[in-house]
Symmetry: C2
Subunit: 532 residues, 2 copies
């Protein structure tokens, strides 16, 4: 995800002037010890391509093979020449360029511009024109001066890409350059061999499973990153979904454990865990806190424990998890309903105007149930207290947030009926399975206007359908959403996708969207967990 | 110098399709063994400056101190902020930037643009507008992405500069950056302590001497470079002048020796030494050959021997020197006058339309005399043969190139009267000292239109005046030329300077001119050698 900067679409900036972090050095050290080794693979480009304008395809740009990449060294490039390499699939890694001069000895440096992108649009539309509100520094480009040729240039930064555009800005009239080879050292901490292969009879689901796994692998670096192009960071909400997909595929449980310890290592003075952490140059808690994300620490610990039976970690991290629930409960009013405020207190989704009260109440109930299961495992008295509070909260939720007449959950003082509220109440199990099924069908039929903005929320829609027993509807929704991305050319699943508005970007430009994004990787979890 | 690329002003491109190099591995190895250690000095900027438009100063831009550089760390810089540092004097070296974030943890990379320049104009006029015919890759700039902050960034390329402009292209709305420190690791192979200090009673000559020495030091790297900004290369014509200045100052004779071996290591199949060599990634002879430059191998060996008495080197390199003279003599017609052709066969100077015949004849005679002196030292029979040929050539020169009526030397089929022809004939000593004195005075009085373009040719003008006994005139010319550069703000002497047209650049833009250029460093030689 990316919520660090201000903008529209329900996103907003959080900057805390007086953030106090209580560092738990034992946890930080434990997280550090679990830092994974990255697996490296050398990947060569497959083709030299041209990007053609085409109104029929997403963003209006289509890639077309011009020549096999193996012919690259046959060409000489001089001032203002350019070419685009296609690596055939999404890559996360480091570029190495092997260059030699052709003609007279190089009597001036080579000035070379690289544009590195996940999608054809990034090759076609100049970054100079980008005017969105996320930092332009995320756009992947480099201008390189090469003083001595021949040269092997290993670029120090990691890129997330499929395409690389090379523009020779200048050489001199006396020489040109030949690109002997270009390669990518792809990196991931995921062990690709650990994944059990499936042969799904439905080719579309099979493909969706594969792309999910590729997406997850490319986001698995020394932490679970949200997106390797942007923001390359560990977010709690993304972690929870990545971990679920991981348990069904790579089973790299140590990486989940590491991430849990990193979050638990830098709570604020109340014990609140931040929505995301930075791991370089050292572990730093961001100054962004979300009601739902903090609670997902407990959810993630729950999922981790039931995937691993690692009681030691559960015991050690339980106080952190429990603290998130305690802090969440403090937000309840006397009526046991969460106090509402401006929309940045809880994340939920990026839908413009979304009221966060009811969906957050759903998240609270959902997480409390998981916390109770953990307390049960630990056989500790907190269990009873949580159970009592849960009963009161569910009762209050039905009383105050369920609109008997409209047969929908409502949220906030305006009684907003949103998709997010229904979905989270279903996941929270406030109603019976039968009532949930009816509610979900009603939702899909009536389509309230306050809808879904992100794959993250789409995941919860699908899971809500599945826990309501609506497998067919769930598959249909998955096919229309993630299947749509595949039809639109996804090599990995995207941060953002609106089938009705394919140019959608909450940032003011689709150039800056991330096209390999962790919160979009869950189809493999849904397919495998629910035997779709 | 820079003659690698095509253009106007008498410059032209040479690209040989079938250049054959006969590598002398013994010489190459000897040159390699003499590679000097570079001395490093950490230099801090003195001021934060602003560049103001001012029609009264060269190029129309003046630097004005805004604050001491020591206050830099007091400022925070965000998107679109910029500042310019002044290092107080010309530097050749490597930049290190120490940066930290201010505000929230950096949630996007820092995108930083650096513009590095020798003159205020380089800070003020955008490089994007450069449209000259020399490669734009010489313009010193970098765009850097910093993924992790704080950071200490040591840029790998060497720059030649006094000013550095920092433009923060983007951070994110959540953070700014503070430049804790910026420093330059200045490098030179010159031993600054080896120079004998002079206290000249004429402050202008004193300053000229100092700036010459600084210019030479900044061009002394692992070879004698022509210009540390551009082209950073060993040219024979520049080497000859640098060596002369060096004998009067740093006395780093090993570096001269190294350069002589490098040239001698890569002659072509006829034995011709090239006009310049590249030393990285390995020793390579450029495919540019000039009649005069090749002969200057003999001149440079002559000067080296009489500065060092290094008979062993003289013996070893004599065959190379002699071969240049032999090849030059092959160009003589039956009348003992050099055959003329298009103007790229000999360098002499960059004056537009300059005919090279007579000045090259002068260079031939000048060098033959030096070769005879060397043969005399070696006590070898070539001496006699050279002396005989010299007599014939001088006779022919007087007969065919001296215009009795006009009292000037003429050149080419159009009987061109140029400054270069007179100057080189005086240096060659074709006439008596008295006749030379009259000729030089006539030259300064009548001012033929085919004049002087470069400090390189100005050097020869001054020396021609001095050998003619016209010391006062020589000093006056030096003051008006190099003194003019000083008045126009030179920290080091420039590649190009035309007091009557200060915007002059043969490359189509003064942005790309080199403002620290070896062939401009000779005032110290002239002052010290001739006791000015």
């Amino acid at each position: 995800m990316s919520k660090g900067e201000s903008g529209d679409s329900g996103m907003s900036i959080q900057t805390l002037e007086n953030q106090v972090i209580i560092r738990n050095e034992k946890f930080i050290e434990k997280g550090k010890q679990l830092k994974p080794q990255l697996h490296e693979t050398i990947v060569k480009p497959t083709s030299i391509v041209e990007i053609k304008a085409d109104t029929e395809v997403i963003h209006g740009w289509r890639s077309e093979v011009a020549a096999p990449a193996s012919t690259l060294a046959n060409y000489k490039y001089g001032k203002n020449d350019s070419f685009i390499l296609d690596f055939g699939d999404h890559q996360v890694g480091y570029l190495t360029i092997n260059l030699r001069p052709a003609g007279s000895p190089p009597d001036a440096p080579l000035k070379l511009k690289l544009t590195i992108g996940e999608m054809p649009v990034e090759m076609a539309e100049p970054f100079e024109n980008y005017n969105g509100w996320l930092s332009s520094s995320w756009l992947q480009e480099e201008t390189i001066f090469v003083d001595v040729l021949p040269a092997v240039i290993s670029l120090p930064r990691r890129y997330s890409f499929r395409y690389v555009k090379f523009e020779v800005i200048d050489t001199s009239p006396k020489y040109q350059v030949v690109f002997e080879s270009v390669e990518c050292k792809a990196v991931t901490s995921a062990n690709l061999n650990a994944v059990e292969k499936i042969s799904h009879q439905d080719a579309e689901l099979q493909r969706m499973d594969e792309i999910s796994i590729k997406t997850l692998a490319d986001c698995m670096q020394d932490v679970f990153e949200d997106g390797p192009k942007r923001d390359r960071r560990l977010w709690l909400g993304d972690l929870r979904l990545q971990a679920l997909a991981n348990y069904e595929t790579f089973r790299d449980n140590e990486l989940v454990k590491r991430c849990l310890y990193l979050f638990a290592g830098v709570p604020d003075e109340k014990g609140n865990v931040s929505a995301n952490v930075f791991v370089a140059p050292k572990l730093i808690a961001d100054d962004t806190y979300f009601f739902d994300y903090s609670l997902f620490f407990a959810a993630s610990l729950h999922d981790y424990y039931f995937a691993t039976s690692d009681l030691e970690t559960l015991k050690e991290l339980w106080p952190t998890a429990y603290r998130q629930v305690e802090l969440a409960l403090e937000r309840l009013g006397e009526n046991n309903i969460l106090k509402d405020s401006d929309n940045s207190w809880s994340f939920i989704d990026w839908v413009e105007g979304l009221n966060k009260q009811a969906p957050s109440q759903g998240v609270l109930i959902y997480t409390m149930k998981q916390a109770i299961r953990l307390a049960e495992e630990l056989n500790i008295p907190e269990k009873n207290n949580l159970e009592e509070r849960l009963e009161e909260i569910i009762e209050a939720t039905k009383t105050h947030l369920w609109d008997q007449e409209q047969q929908f959950f409502i949220s906030g003082s305006d009684h907003q009926i949103s998709w997010a509220s229904q979905i989270w109440m279903v996941l929270a199990g406030v109603l019976t399975k039968e009532e949930n099924s009816k509610l979900m069908k009603r939702l899909l039929k009536e389509k309230p206007t306050v809808g879904i903005a992100t794959p993250y929320m789409y995941h919860h829609l699908i899971e809500a359908l599945l826990v309501s027993g609506e497998k067919e509807l769930a598959i249909a929704e998955m096919k229309s959403y993630w299947g749509g991305m595949i039809q639109d050319g996804a090599d990995t699943f995207w941060e953002l996708y609106d089938p009705k508005n394919k140019d959608f970007s909450p940032y003011g430009s689709h150039l800056i969207n991330s096209y390999c994004h962790a919160w979009s990787c869950t189809p493999t979890y849904l397919i495998r967990k629910y035997n779709l």
